[in-house]
Amino acid sequence: MKKQFQTKKIAIAVALSLGASFVSAQPSPIKIGVVTPLSGTYTPIGEQVKMGLDLAAKEINAAGGIGGRKIDLIYEDEEANPAVATQKAEKLFQVEKVDFLTGTVNSGSTLAVGQLAERNNKLIATTVSFADSITADKCSPNVFRVNARAGMQSAALAAWVDKEIPKANIFFIGPDYEMGRSTVSAFKKASTEKGAKDVGEVFAPLDNKDYSPYFGQVRAAKPNVIYTSVAGNDTVRLFSQMDEYGVNKGVTIVGASGTVTSQNMGAIGKSANGFVTGVGYSPKLDNPANKKFVADFQKAYSKLPDLYGADSYGLLYFYKAAVEKAKSTETDKVRAAMNDLSWQTPQGMKKMRAGDHQAMQDMFAVRVENGEFNIVGKVPSDLAIGPDTCTRF
C-alpha cells in the first residue's frame, strides 16, 4: 500500500518535470496589450483596429512568430474614455506584464496612456489618433505613431490643390468649435504657404440648419476652391444647399478627411461628387502589399479594411522588425531599434522619424465619384511630414 503510494508520487513528479521541461522548450509568447474602444461611439474604429491586429498576428504566428516567439494579443475595452483607458492600461502593464501596448483611438487616451507608459518604462504606439500634439509639443520618448497625423492630411491636400489649381482663391467654411477652427487654420497655413489666397471664412454653429445665409459672402468672395471641415449631418446640409443654390458651380470643394464618410455619403448623394480630401490610406492603393492585404482582410472579415485597419495591421510588422533588430523586447533596446526604422506596410514603405516618433509615409488625395473614393494624387512622405517640433528627446 505504502509502496504503491510512493510510486504514484514519483510518477507525478516525473510527469510534472516533463511538463515543465515541455513548457520551457517552447519560448514564452510576446504579450501585446490592446486598449481600444470595443463599445460606444467609436466601436466601428475599435473593430477595425482589432481586425487589423488579429490578421497581422495570425500571419506572423503562422510564419514562426517574432524570433520564434508567438504574439499574444490581450484586449481591453477603453470605451474611448481616457480615464478608463489609463485604468485598463495600468492593469495590462502591472498584472498581465505586457511587453508593448497599442489600440488607443481618442487622442486624449493616447496622451494619458503615454504618460502611464513612461512611468512603467514601457513603449506604446497609436495607430489611429490624429492630434498633431502627440508627436509635437506633447511628444514622449515612450510613444510612437504609425498613422498619419492631422497636419499631414492638410499638407497632402494643400499640395494637391497647389498642383491642380495653382494660386487658388480659397474660401473656408468650418464648424465653430475647437476641431473646426484648428482644421481650418491648419489648412489655411498649409495652402497659403504654397501661394493660395485666403478670400474669406465663415464659422457656422455646430448642427447648423441652413447655410444659405452665408452664400452671399461666399459668392462675393469669388473663390475657385472652398475648403470645409464640417462633419456628419452638417455636411449633408452644406453640400445639398450649395448644390441647390449653385454655389459649387465652377468651384472645387475640398475638405477634412472626416467631412464625407461612408455614414453620410448616401444622404449627400450626387452633391458629394468631386469632393477631394487628403488621407493616409485607401483600399484602392495599387501595390502588391496592399492588394494582398485587402484580399486577406476581405477573406477573413468579408468587409473592406479602412485607414485604421491598415495602420493597425502595419503596426505589428513595425514591432516585429524592431524586436528582431534589437534581438530583445527590452524597452531601451526596442526604442533604439525603432528610431529611423523602415518597414513594409499596405501603404508602401514607412519610416519612423527618430526626432518625434512620427511615421513618415506617402499621402494621397482622394476624390468622391459616385459613392467611391478614387485616388487622384500622391504626395511623397518628405513633403507631407512637416517639421519636427518635438523638443523633449
Binding site: D176, V202, F203, A204, P205, D207, N208, K209, D210, S212, P213, Y214, F215, G216, Q217, R219, A220, G232, N233, V236, R237, S240, Q241, E244, Y245, G246, Q263, N264, G266, A267, I268, G269
Partner: protein
Amino acid sequence: MLESLQYIYAPQIINGLSIGVAVILMALGLTIIFGLLDVINMSHGEFYAAGAFFSVTLVAMGVSFWVCLLLVPLLLVPIGFAMERLLIQKVFHYKDRHILTLLLTFGIAMVLEDSYKIIWGANPIKPSAPISGASEILGVMFPNYRLFLMGFGALLILSVWVLIYKTQLGAIVRAAAYDKDMSSSLGIPVMRVYALTFAFGVALAGLAGVLLAPIYSVFPTMGRDFILMAFSVVIVGGLGSIKGAVIAGILLTQLQSISSLYISPVWSDPLVFAVMVLVLMFKPTGLYGSMKNA
C-alpha cells in the same frame, strides 16, 4: 455699393424670408396649441420630424410628394387626437398644468426621438426636392423649391388665419378656449374641440416636416432644430396670435440673417433670445395679445 446690395443684402434678405417661412410654419401649430389650449407642447418638434419621416417613407413606397402634402397631415390627425385624449387630458385639469403638460410632452418627445432612431436609424436621409432648378431674382440665383415654399407657406398661413378668425368652426374653437363652461352649456362638445385643435396643431407640424425635409434632410433629432426658434417667435409675437407669429417670425429670422453678416453666426441665436428676453421684460404678452381676446 450696388454690388454689395445685389450680392450680399438682397440674397440675405430673401434667404432670411425662406427660413422665416419655415419657422412660421413651425410656430403656427405651436401658437394654436399654446394660445387656445394653454398647453406648452415640447414634443412639437418631434411631430415635425414625424411628418418628415412619414413623407420619406411614403415617397420611397412610390407615393408622390404632392400626395404626401395632404396624406401626412391626415395621418397625424388621429395620432394627435389620441395623444390629447389619452395623455394630455389626464394632467390638463390639475392646478399646475403648465409644468405637468410641459414635462409630459417633453417625455413624449424623448420617446418619439428614440423610436425614430430605432425605426429609421441614426444616419441622415436626404429626399430630393420635388421642384429642381433655380431662378434668377434681382441677379441672384434662387432655388425654385424655396420660391414654391414661400408661396405655399404664405397661402397656408393665410388659410389657417381665415379658418380661425373668419369661419364658424374657428369661432367655436375660440369660444371653447375663451370660456369652457359657457361654451359647453351652449352645446359645444368642448372636449372633442380641444382634442381636434391639438390634432390640428400636430398636423401643421407634420406638414412643415414634409415641406422642409428636402431642404434640411431627415434624421431622428431634427425636431430640436426649429423648436427654440419657434418658441421664441410665439413668445415675441404673443401667445396664440397668428399675426404675431408671422410678424415675429419674419422679424427674428431677418435679424438673424442680417446680423450674421457682421457678427459670428454663432452669436445670431443668442441675439434672437435676447430679443425674446427684452419682450418678456417690457411686454410679457408679446407684440400682439392673444387669440382668445380677439
